[in-house]
């Protein structure tokens, strides 16, 4: 008991210790600039229209069925405000208001359509949420210039821990997700992806070889799993960060992962010492010794603990669902299973209305982007089945909707994803219990698998 209290005392002392707010300020500035650039890029590529205006049907998150798009002008207004709020975050102008506005708008956009889910969008939401609770405007902000009542230039150490924890979660759980036969033994899906990029200059011709994919799979696995610890250790930190930059630069060359590499490169700066930006920016350093150390954690620190606990638990939740999560997709989202599957499906609905039976193509309701995402994800297949049933429901009866859904996953022969005998119109969309209508993953290895190296 005494030991526990001593540990708690040590944690409290270290967590409440005032540290330079410069790294948090740099994080805020870089985050704001990235998000501003991201919004401009999104609009410039015509993606507002493509993802939020054109689709006739949108997949809803469980419990968020009420979130609807605002129409062309409304969505442009949302993105304009999002960009402006991100800019305000960057310069630290009415920071609290700006970050809350940014988070609200970003979350709204993300909740519009499940088919747009990306891990790095989720990460942006989480980082935005954390920033709402942190005084990131104490250094290098317009607020600090305008309002003398903005507190001193220090922050409590636990605030940096929180951000480090979140960044660390992404890497660590992405590493855990790679602890699989496909990734470590078959080098899939990396082998598939690399051999379609053999025309890249210099190294391109090497990418056709399974051995290269195997080596890169293991490198990626070990990198993701351990990079946080190398970043936390002061002696290895500079080299670890350099490796991190090279790693993400490579992934940016190989894959269309948008802002993800830059978000991770910028986000990982939070692992450096709290005063690292002052090496590059002249200005007065805060006198850490003079800052009063609080004796109690603020209430928001309790929120941070709960937040972190949830973040630790969520990525493991697939363990309570039967089957391979990469096939069933149950508990796939929000768990940092980054770039671990290449999955393509073909879905056709069979509608039985009275004596008449006909097929409905998902293309009737979905954009090409939506169809690509949806065709391998059973919960979305169920949602569209319900929509099709709604559309074809007459006064007298609701039709039966079954589905021919096939998928090929990480280079395997195709297999049925959903039980074709089940009337999906009568299946309720539930988080629990596990969906019995999702069929088991194929057991065969990926096509063209090499003999295992020990055989």
């Amino acid at each position: 008991m005494i030991r526990v209290s001593r540990i708690w005392e040590a944690i409290r002392e270290a967590g409440l210790k005032p540290v330079d707010g410069a790294s948090l300020a740099a994080f805020r500035i870089l985050f704001g600039v990235m998000m501003t650039a991201g919004v401009i890029r999104f609009a410039a590529l015509g993606w507002i229209d493509r993802f939020f205006v054109k689709p006739e049907f949108m997949f809803k998150y469980w419990g968020f069925g009420w979130v609807e798009p605002l129409g062309p002008s409304g969505m442009i207004a949302v993105f304009t405000l999002m960009g402006l709020s991100a800019l305000m975050v960057a310069i630290g102008f009415y920071y609290r208001f700006a970050i809350v506005l940014f988070l609200s708008l970003f979350s709204y956009v993300e909740l519009l359509d499940v088919s747009n889910y990306l891990n790095h969008y989720y990460l942006v939401s989480l980082l935005g949420c954390i920033l709402v609770f942190l005084p990131a405007n104490q250094v290098w902000s317009v607020d600090a210039l305008l309002f003398p009542n903005v507190p001193d230039k220090t922050v409590q150490a636990w605030m940096l821990w929180w951000l480090r924890f979140q960044m660390g979660c992404v890497y660590f759980f992405a590493g855990v997700a790679k602890f699989s036969e496909d990734w470590l033994i078959h080098a899939q899906p990396l082998h598939i992806w690399l051999r379609s990029r053999v025309e890249l200059p210099v190294i391109g011709s090497l990418l056709q070889y399974w051995e290269v994919a195997f080596l890169m799979s293991w490198t990626g696995f070990l990198f993701d799993l351990t990079i946080v610890f190398w970043l936390l250790w002061g002696r290895s930190r500079p080299l670890a960060y350099a490796v991190l930059v090279v790693f993400h630069a490579f992934t940016n060359v190989f894959f269309a992962i948008g802002m993800f590499p830059i978000i991770m490169i910028v986000g990982a700066t939070i692992f450096f010492d709290p005063d690292w930006p002052r090496r590059f920016v002249r200005g007065s350093k805060p006198e850490i010794g003079n800052s009063p150390a609080s004796r109690r954690f603020p209430k928001r620190a309790i929120f941070a603990v709960v937040f972190c606990a949830v973040q630790i638990l969520i990525p493991w939740r697939n363990l309570v669902f039967p089957g391979n999560v990469l096939w069933t997709e149950q508990a796939m989202r929000w768990s940092w299973k980054v770039m671990v599957r290449e999955k393509n499906g073909d879905v056709m609905y069979r509608v039985k209305q009275g004596e008449r039976e006909f097929e409905v193509s998902p293309r009737r309701y979905l954009s090409a982007d939506q169809e690509r995402e949806f065709s391998g994800q059973p919960d979305m297949i169920l949602q569209l089945a319900h929509h099709i049933a709604d559309v074809h429901t007459s006064e007298r009866d609701r039709p039966e909707v079954r589905v021919d859904a096939w998928a090929s996953w990480n280079g395997r022969t195709r297999a049925r994803l959903v039980d074709p005998t089940v009337d999906l119109a009568r299946i309720e969309d539930k988080v629990w219990p596990p969906a019995a209508w999702i069929l088991v993953a194929p057991k065969s290895p990926p096509l063209g698998s090499k003999k295992r190296f020990w055989q």
Partner: protein, 393 residues
């Protein structure tokens, strides 16, 4: 240290335990052939050759169609008209092969790399509109150079089919449309209608040859587009060989959306049809060659997929070890081709007397489509059609 080593072995064991499944695929030693780069390039070059040759063939048959139509205009008779019909069937047989090769300039502008809408100018199905053709006929919109600037559904093979195979003196417009309500169509009389149809058909045939030559020109060796297609790294039209292969894959997917769904699925009432069958949705309502068109589509698919006598997608599948995918696609394709050949009647008739046969054809095409949309694009890391680049993770 010993604990650490033990832990590593336990972990490796945990990963490997799943791999104790029966291995039903033959291991492929792809390191034995270091030429994937060359093979992909060969596949692109061969596809360019096939597409070019097809367009050369089409220019020839389109020119023959124009000549036959000219002869019909100069000396209208049953013989000259039958010759026009014969040449139309020949031209359609070649063009329907090309329908599965809608790549680059043939593709839709803004939707397809290098797209110039040339396919729609040659054949606008399913956006056909016989009523619009009749309106142009009435207004003599085919005279001079006016036709080329009109909407795509008043010229091309589809308009030609309507003008030359439709024997009725009536028009395709609703009874309350202006050309019927003001009596202007009725005032033409049968002879004038037939005269105008001949001249209109000739104008369409001339435009067809012009568009066919334009399309062929883009695929001629040394032409700007052909160079961009074969050397995508220049970035003029395509950014990479993968993008070129994606363009070719998009073309192959004609089999899914157009052939399976629209040419077979709709008429038999399986898809987007409110009644038991939709005979009005058959592709070739006037020349009655819907199944012949499908046979030609399958022939075109066969050429592009297998690369003719050169490297094709089948070889790429072999190279990546997806032998079962390659063989299944070939087998399903052969079965679909055999099924189409087995019909002794055309689709209009088959809808009533051999619906089961058409359903069987639909199912075969469905299998083929599923293979394309799942294993084929997965193992070759290709994209579904019309899916522009986006972010992933």
């Amino acid at each position: 240290m010993r604990h650490a080593i033990l832990s590593i072995f336990i972990c490796l064991g945990a990963v490997a335990c799943d791999s104790a499944q029966p291995d039903n695929t033959a291991p492929v030693d792809d390191s034995a052939d270091p030429s994937l780069v060359a093979m992909r390039q060969d596949a692109v070059m061969q596809a360019a050759t096939i597409i070019h040759d097809t367009h050369v063939d089409f220019v020839a048959v389109a020119s023959a169609l124009e000549a036959a139509t000219q002869a019909w205009v100069d000396a209208p008779s049953t013989t000259t008209k039958e010759d026009v019909h014969l040449r139309f069937h020949e031209a359609s047989a070649v063009w329907q092969r090309a329908e599965v090769m809608i790549v680059g300039p043939a593709g839709a502008m803004g939707n397809s790399a290098g797209g110039m809408d040339l396919r729609d100018k040659i054949y606008s199905w399913p956006l056909t509109n016989p009523c619009r053709v009749d309106q142009e006929l009435l207004n003599k919109g085919y005279e001079g150079d006016k036709l080329a600037s009109q909407t795509i559904n008043v010229f091309g093979l589809d308009a030609f089919e309507y003008l030359t195979f439709n024997e009725a003196d009536s028009n395709a417009c609703p009874i309350n449309s202006t050309i019927n309500s003001d009596g202007s169509w009725a005032a033409l009389g049968a002879d004038e209608i037939n005269l105008r149809r001949r001249h209109y058909a000739l104008a369409v045939a001339k435009l067809l040859v012009s568009h066919a030559q334009e399309l062929k020109g883009h695929w001629t060796p040394g032409a700007e587009f052909r160079n961009a297609f074969e050397k995508p790294a220049t970035g003029d039209v395509y950014g990479s060989t993968r993008e070129v292969l994606n363009g070719l894959t998009d073309a192959l997917f004609y089999l899914e959306k157009d052939v399976k769904d629209m040419k077979v699925g709709r008429p038999i009432g399986m898809i987007e049809c409110a009644t038991a069958t939709c005979p009005e949705a058959v592709e070739s309502r006037f020349a009655n060659r819907s199944l012949a068109n499908i046979a030609a589509n399958l022939e075109g698919f066969d050429l592009l997929f297998n690369g003719g006598d050169g490297v094709g997608f089948d070889d790429l599948l072999t190279q990546v070890g997806a032998l079962s995918t390659r063989d299944e696609i070939k087998a399903d394709l052969a079965a679909a081709q055999a099924k189409v050949e087995s019909f002794e009647i055309e689709m209009n008739e088959a809808l009533t007397v051999d619906a089961a046969g058409l359903q069987e054809l639909y199912d075969l095409l469905r299998n083929l489509s599923t293979l394309l949309k799942t294993e084929f694009i997965t193992v070759l890391d290709l994209d579904l059609p019309q899916r522009a680049d986006g972010d992933n993770d």
